[in-house]
């Protein structure tokens, strides 16, 4: 069966520090992968998606970037965090027209 992992689960970072969030998927090959941000416990905003290694599409201009160095690995990064980057970050993959979500990373920027 397919599973999706995210780490860390929680993260507190100062403004201006770098960020690296990791997402890995098991039990499937060549998945479509997605990064979402959820602010203040509500609505999801799609940040990036990837249909293959090295292929990244950005949905909104922002302070973040994404990379897919391996087939089942998706990384969300920033060189310098802003206060507005705080939120709950969710990774997802697609199977049979359904998206399956990871457990999320709670990021607090102080």
């Amino acid at each position: 069966s397919q599973t999706i992992h995210q780490w860390p689960a929680t993260l507190v970072q100062p403004v201006g520090s770098p960020l690296s969030l990791e997402c890995t998927v098991e039990g499937t090959s060549n998945p479509n992968l997605y990064w979402y941000r959820q602010a203040a416990g509500r609505g999801l905003q799609l940040l990036f998606y990837s249909v293959g290694i090295g292929q990244i599409s950005s949905e909104v201009p922002q302070n973040l970037s994404a990379s897919r160095p391996q087939d089942r690995q998706f990384i969300l990064s920033s060189k310098k965090l802003l206060l507005s980057d705080s939120g709950f970050y969710l990774c997802a993959f697609t199977r049979y027209n359904e998206q399956f979500f990871g457990p999320g990373t709670r990021l607090t920027v102080l």
């Binding site: 609505g43 799609l46 969710l90 027209n97 359904e98 979500f101 457990p103």
Partner: protein, 114 residues
Amino acid sequence: AQSVAQPEDQVNVAEGNPLTVKCTYSVSGNPYLFWYVQYPNRGLQFLLKYITGDNLVKGSYGFEAEFNKSQTSFHLKKPSALVSDSALYFCAVRLPYGNNRLAFGKGNQVVVIP
């Protein structure tokens, strides 16, 4: 533009009463529609989907949803709510030509009162 609307911020219902969470959509072509549930500090869990076929879709945990093309709606329902159904519910539509990208509604907080 492709989108979904969840008009209510919060739905309060007494335990044992029917639960309805509303969703309307705007999309070109045939819609692929989804419902997800989120418990505090957790990822989203898939409940059900409509792709084609029977307008009444049955999903997990006793939930169902009815696709209504004329009203462009996909309301989530449960005949008898449980306290454990208290959570955040999201409606979503698949974007066309979009590599299975989804557009989510803002979410509805459901509170089931014992």
